[in-house]
Amino acid sequence: MLKGGDSLVDALLSGITQLLTPIYILMFSLGTIIGLFFGILPGLDGVTGLALLLPFVFMLEKKAALALILGMSAISFTAGAITSILLGAPGTSGSTATIMDGFPMAKKGLAGKAIGAAITASIFGGVFGAVVLSLTIPIFKPLVLMFGSAEFLAMTILGISLVAVLCGEKPLRGITSAGVGILISQIGADPIMGLYRWTFGITYLQQKISVVLVALGLFALAEIIDMAIQGMPISTRQSTQGKFDGVLETFKNWKLTLSSSFIGAVTGFMPGLGSAVACWISYALAMITCKPKDQFGKGDIRGVIAPEAANNASLGGALIPTIAFGIPGGTLMALLLSAFWMIGLRPGPEMLRRNLDIVYLIIWTIALSNIIGGIILLIWTDKFAKIAMIRIEILAPIITLVIFLGAVITNMNIWDLWVVFGFCLLGWVMKKINWPRPPLLMGFILGPLIERFYFTTMMVFGEKWVMRPMVLIILLMAVFFLIIGYKTVRNARKPSNR
């Protein structure tokens, strides 16, 4: 074990040496395969996988356990893209934005291309996140201290301002959708006093509705029901472009991949925001910055690349406060932190002094897990893509089964299925009458965060929170995106653009 004072380079090389031991490779490969499995099934993600693996962590040697849990956690977002593209059902909460263009691409017979792009972007994002994590080690402390609740609040406001871009041609409908999403997210115990809101005495509603249930109902089941009603398969066209076209597209759009990875790493770094927010912010920013924009939401490959690069990069970002201070930024990080403690690691300044080689081992594991997992998925892409051609009469009951499995697996509560049913009905009606669904999901994700950060910020900083330099920068960006969003909508409404 390295002691304090050893150079960063020594720790970096020591991390690689430990990574290449047979037991580490074995356990890490096992973790990657388990992660792929959990990521691919809607409703199951790294959190579920980690929760199931925790009891086994005790039985393993420290580094073997580390390899297993990190291999599993790092790859689940990559696999989540597969079902988002093929079935319109997000494999993980970080893959919800991928549905927007991934699923329309599958409908057009471009599933292979979309999956190829998603996996390549995921690999890039994952490696980028690991690089960011390794580069920020020397400046961990000042970096983390730069961000407080005021900055987090500003970041959530920035997130909600991006709704303007996701609204479609009727901005008022989009704002209403986001508002409805926020209102639904308020059902349950309030974060300040713990009092129940809009529960009507129903015990089930006292706990918050899971974002996975909302996404499964609003997008996945609503799409499947719509196809079952029309009697159409996901795609009637044979896949004309394969995975390597998608890989090439990701490299062609390298600026977008890089910027989305950066957004993912920054968003992941902020406790509470996580991959679900990262994927939507990067998607909306892709809509703003990319030209032409008219194909977004209809099957634009850039709408797949941006969220997939971001969600994988968010893991590297989220590990910064977890490792530097032992402060978990979300459920996955909280479980990871528990796993670290269980195997005898103490994340925080002490770990940076005494176990810097372990920190680098974590970084290398994340990077390698993304590369190996991505290659495994790429090999299978063409097989996956054929699912889109199966008759809907066969596919509909199987996908419904998988969606319901994803809904009940966490809590084993029959009410979860009724919630998915309710959101399916809402999603289907919204689809039929051209109401934008993404703002609703974005509002649902950001609503509780805005409320929590608002009260914390007001208690700590009072009205002066808006005068903090970082807050000002983020709020100016929010105003900028509102203006750009308005312009995007206005341009979309011009007859020449229809």
Binding site: G179, I182, L183, W198, I394, P397, F404, F421, K432, E451
Partner: protein, 154 residues
């Protein structure tokens, strides 16, 4: 003047109605609990009303004069049937438990709604059952949602 009150208008009105109910229910909450949801509910009511009025005004502008306002219903029978299948799946999950209900749902959907052959229906059902039983019940040792019927029968 012929103006169709269609699903889009009704959806607007439903949102306004539900948000208003939410606002009424939340009026007695303490300041910290009620501030955020009440503010959002008021914004939603205002924006939805504005959206409804603007869209309705646009429709009036486009409509022909001299006809009455009519209510148009387009909710399809096929949609009702598909949602009924989903509801039946959930009810059977409550009754028989997740694994049995899923197998039953897959088989009946393939055979009755999909009109597929017995062999395909049985093979897919067995595959689905094996996937749930082997992966989740045996390997992952997850206790799937049990049915209330088995409790009633002892």
């Amino acid at each position: 003047m012929k103006v169709k009150i269609d699903k889009e208008d009704i959806f607007h009105l439903i949102i306004i109605f539900v948000a208003s109910i939410g606002l009424c229910v939340g009026r007695t909450w303490p300041y910290e609990t009620g501030l955020f949801p009440r503010t959002v509910a008021i914004i939603v009511i205002i924006v939805t009303s504005l959206s409804f009025l603007l869209e309705f005004y646009e429709k009036i502008k486009k409509s022909k004069p001299g006809k009455n306002i009519i209510v148009k219903s387009e909710f399809g029978k096929n949609a009702l049937i598909n949602f009924a299948w989903l509801a039946a799946y959930i009810i059977s999950t409550w009754l028989f438990g997740y694994v049995v209900a899923s197998s039953l749902y897959v088989f009946l959907y393939l055979k009755v709604k999909g009109k597929l052959s017995w062999i395909v229906s049985i093979m897919v059902t067995v595959g689905a059952f094996a996937f749930l039983e082997v992966v989740f019940v045996i390997l992952l040792r997850i206790r799937m949602l049990p049915g209330v019927l088995w409790n009633w029968l002892g």
